[in-house]
Symmetry: none
Subunit: 207 residues, 2 copies
Amino acid sequence: MPVEQPDMPELKIESGSGLQTNVEPLQLGKRLREIRQSLSLTLEEASQRTGLARSTLSKIENEQISPTFTAVQKLANGLQIDIPQLFAKPRSTMASGRRVLTQAGEGTPHPTSTYEHELLSTELARKKMVPFKTRVRARSFDDFGDWVRHEGEEFLLVLEGELALYTEFYEPVVMVAGDSMYYDANMGHALVSLSEQDALVLWIVAR
Amino acid sequence: MPVEQPDMPELKIESGSGLQTNVEPLQLGKRLREIRQSLSLTLEEASQRTGLARSTLSKIENEQISPTFTAVQKLANGLQIDIPQLFAKPRSTMASGRRVLTQAGEGTPHPTSTYEHELLSTELARKKMVPFKTRVRARSFDDFGDWVRHEGEEFLLVLEGELALYTEFYEPVVMVAGDSMYYDANMGHALVSLSEQDALVLWIVAR
DNA sequence: CAATAAATTAGCATATAGGAAATATTTCCC
DNA sequence: GGGAAATATTTCCTATATGCTAATTTATTG
């Protein structure tokens, strides 16, 4: 009897515009300086690792010259940076340097006909992962309607009880406390509690 | 006493980025040519849109020169390409329609001086999330060396015991079973067990 | 404030990218 | 197959990035 969309809280996540018409300033030098400094490297050390001259590095960081692509490659190799990541825009991610605690039972409730979700860390927006605890009511009907199915990947850990995870293309699997499952969420999936009491699971979705 | 890098198991996982010492061939010219042709643009047209000379474009595509970063920017703007995407590798994802079960205690062990990690779902490569259970040994010294710090976001759920989560910029937080934390992993972090017995946590990292 | 380290700048030599025009290649139509 | 037009490549010159050495300025540290 799993179920409709509400089972997938938010997922609105980010993926801002998608249209980057803006003429990005893209402070390459600034970024590079940050990276180098975060590694506690002096220009001299960075020079040794990258094979680029101190002065060149300085000029690049101060945006006095526009580095050759080969120079960028040397930089990326020498400093262990991922090139795509280097050029990535300010990255509309979760606010950096933030954390949020959710104490047991203090999450945001989100009940559905089959599940009782407790959304975690809701204070943080634009997260890469959406975590929630779910209480699967005892003896859910074992004929369920449609699969739950959505973009992304899902990780599931059984915290209490015993349940069956049904997934498309596979046989159902019985899971007990401590068992975990990682699966492609595009694949239909659904949980059914097997024990007398409700089962409790931790669920995490990543898009 | 958290610690050195080993505390962050794998992370090598996808994007092979962990350590990309390899001198990536990175056929920039080839990629650009493909893109231009897929837009049915002639060198002349591309030249007009980008402000770069026909000859320059030709040389870049034939890898006779290594374009300046500003040139790459002009190209990206003119041809509506996303720079990160330009350098991104073929984008491999987890095989679709797959799932993998890890039964309690059956993960892949990965001990370090401070923690005892049990990696989960290791059979699936290129996952968006890296899940593992960690046993935090009782009474870890509460003076720890360096922070653990890495790209991405991290979710932490306490399964058993009681521990203190130290994070940069914040006061330490005491967490008990059922409590969870979501935080920016670039922010230094470290766990210390407070109870007599070891503490057990579920950890999930998303890059 | 002194002493040291680190970063920036300067000057010059060289390698190489960028632009304009010439040359070569391909495409396409008869 | 032979042009003619379109497209791509190469040539040549100029602009600029890179390397080197050293001097100068700017942090750091004690």
